[in-house]
Amino acid sequence: MDIAHFLDILWLARIPILKGLGFTISISLLAICFGTLLGIFVGLALTYGVRPLRWIVRGYTDFIRGTPVLVLVLASYYVLSTIGLDLSPFQAGVLALAVFCSSHVGEIVRGALQAIPKGQTEAAKAIGLTFPQTFAYVLGPQALRQVLPAWVNTAAEMVKASTLLSIIGVAELLLRTQEIISRSFLSLEFYFFAGFLYFIINYAIERFGRYVERKTAIPS
């Protein structure tokens, strides 16, 4: 291994790597944002939805959670263009990740809401709160504390899953890395380097999650 040679190539490839990193981060952010919005709806529908809606949403989450993310990404990429939706690989990939994210967030939200003891709702009713008020002041804030750490974890999952978009040709960090390797043949060094970058991002997210958990903990 020639460190100086690797550093030379790394310096030459800095722009594509930074661009790839930018793509990775935008893919993850978009997937998390859309996925979370959809996921909150999924979680609420699973917990409070009327029966037919609950069944439909249950079917949706079970199907998504039973399918590998890579299959979602490939299906989204191939299928959407076939039915005439002209999405770029980037858009198709983000859509697949957002759908994946929504099923995760949905389950997290449902789990958090159902974990709240029934007595909380009863106590809120007993002092005369309506259901929207009960949700806003009693259930929501308690569920949010439960959800936050797991949600931050999902964010890290999204960063990891964003690598799958390299397979449909989105020029994110991993695909850029592979391009550099195909020219420089430094596969050990550059795969290691890419892995290291991902590790740093995810480790930071994980630490942040622990911090959030501590910050929002209820004193006892």
Binding site: G119, A123, I127, L129
Partner: protein, 258 residues
């Protein structure tokens, strides 16, 4: 006809095929302190929960100050009142639960203030001063900014009582409020209830503390298999039970032991 504070007429309640209340009639005047005793499964907690509409009921009426709770009959059709209306009616009664049910993410003061601000629409300052008044009354003003997780069971239950009573209810409902407490914490809660009773608060208590029921209430109701088995003043009830059932129940309860 005297206007009753609480009037229950022919109350029926089932869970599926199981009928737990089989026609309960009961009236209560302003300032009454009534203890409901009976073995578990006799329907006493269910009756209390119906008064606060925490349970639906299928037959009969419950009225507070002549106002029918939870249901209305329009053109011969009995239907549930609107959620908003039920929420308003629930605030007519205050309820303390066996498991306290304090909101764990709010301080003691915040627990008391929530209903004052969101239901009574008081300002934060007004709510805070009422909360402090009641926390002082239950002996916990110094703990106003503690979270439930930082309080003992007895303290939590006292905050829960303050939370209910701060809403200025017409009637307080106590559902086995000492059953989940360690024995050494029971007394502090009973003292609070007793002092509220002495102030003339109308209350309905489901309790297993026979000695306490004897001391605090002016009337006792014995529930048996979904009906009122016997009722009367505590002296007659505990010393000269008329029915076989009640004397059986009293023998197995803690009344004789203390």
């Amino acid at each position: 006809m005297p206007n009753h504070l609480l009037e229950i007429r022919d109350l029926h309640k089932s869970y599926g095929d199981v009928e737990v209340l089989k026609g309960v009639d009961c009236t209560m005047a302003q300032g009454d302190v009534i203890s409901i005793i009976g073995s578990s499964g006799s329907g006493k907690t269910t009756m209390l929960r119906c008064i606060n509409m925490l349970e639906e009921f299928q037959g009969g009426t419950i009225s507070i100050d002549g106002e029918e709770i939870g249901y209305e009959t329009l053109g011969g059709q009995r239907r549930r009142k609107k959620e908003k209306e039920i929420a308003r009616q629930r605030a007519l009664t205050g309820m303390a639960f066996q498991q306290f049910n304090l909101f764990p993410h709010m301080s003691a003061a915040r627990n008391v203030m929530l209903g004052l601000m969101k239901v009574k629409k008081l300002s934060k300052d007004e709510a805070r001063s009422i909360a402090e008044k009641w926390l002082d009354r239950v002996g916990l003003l110094a703990r106003a900014d503690h979270f439930p997780g930082q309080l003992s069971g007895g303290q939590q239950q006292r905050v829960a009582i303050a939370r209910a009573i701060a809403m200025n209810p017409r009637l307080m409902l106590f559902d086995e409020v000492t059953s989940a407490l360690d024995p050494e914490l029971v007394n502090e809660v009973l003292q609070v209830i007793k002092s509220l009773a002495q102030d003339g608060m109308s209350m309905l208590l489901v309790t297993h503390e026979m000695r306490f029921a004897y001391e605090v209430s002016n009337r006792v109701i014995f529930m048996n298999q979904g009906r009122i088995g016997e009722e009367g003043n505590p002296r007659e009830m505990f010393h000269k039970p008329k029915s076989e059932r009640l004397s059986e129940f009293l023998k197995t309860s803690s009344f004789g032991e203390r």
